[in-house]
């Protein structure tokens, strides 16, 4: 059994990773405001957690201008996808071993 991933396991970061992982395209990015609505976060809260995930190399944050408005888009990195899959497998192992 691999250990707990403390970066991902925090409740809000787990939601962020779940939302990004659910995007069907591997390189799909989601806009900051849409992600905020999906995970139920505030601007500051989401920004702080995204920074943590970016530092861990799990997500990529892209900033660009669209129609002269700044837009922040977030996508999961391959390392993030792997780490999330491992964390979900770890959570399932805990439940399975408790039931055995």
């Amino acid at each position: 059994m691999s250990g707990v991933n403390e970066v991902i396991h925090q409740a809000m970061r787990l939601r962020i990773m779940a939302a990004l992982n659910a995007m069907s395209l591997k390189k799909a990015a989601i806009e900051f405001t849409r992600l905020k609505a999906l995970v139920g976060a505030t601007d500051g809260n989401l920004g702080a957690h995204l920074e943590t995930l970016e530092r861990a190399g799990y997500i990529v944050i892209e900033k660009r201008f669209e129609e002269r408005k700044p837009q922040t888009r977030v996508r999961m990195s391959p390392a993030g996808r792997r780490a999330f899959a491992e964390h979900v497998a770890y959570l399932r192992e805990i439940i399975d071993s408790a039931g055995a």
């Binding site: 409740a11 659910a22 069907s24 999906l38 995970v39 805990i94």
Partner: protein, 189 residues
Amino acid sequence: MTIDPNEAATSLQDIATIERRTHEALLYGGSSGIFVMWGVLVASGYGLVEFYPRSAMIIWLAITAAGCAATALIVALRRRACAQETSDWRLVWALAALAAFGATWSYLLGPIVPRPLMYSFQPTLYLLGIILAGLWLGRFFVVLGFVGIALIVLGHLQSEPWLRLWMAAVQSGTLIVGGIWLGRSGVSQ
């Protein structure tokens, strides 16, 4: 740090909730263009029938065929990009079945049923399909279907020529406004 089974179960439940919400938002974002396109097609259909009333049947058949073909194309392009999406084709087949059912009965009932009722038959049939699809796909589709049907039924308080104008505005407007709302509340990749 250790995680107990209850905490693990809660986390997995949380993940499932967010995944469901994200899939719903992706579906909303992906359907937006399809709804707007159908709205524009319906508006064009009413416009063309106004100028060529004798060709109404051909015009509506062409509009329905063009809409179904364009929807199939959009879904095919999306499926090519997102290999794991599997439910879209069933929706297209359901739409095609509804279109065939509506067209057949419109053809058979057209000469007997009063014309104002025929303005409502196919649109309410499609909106019923949207309501039923919404039971699985997301509550917005249910709301959109009920609003559309209510507005169409309300239209029968009008008489010609306002009835036709009302139907054109309500049917195309519901689809276009609904499509724009879907785009705003959904997620596109």
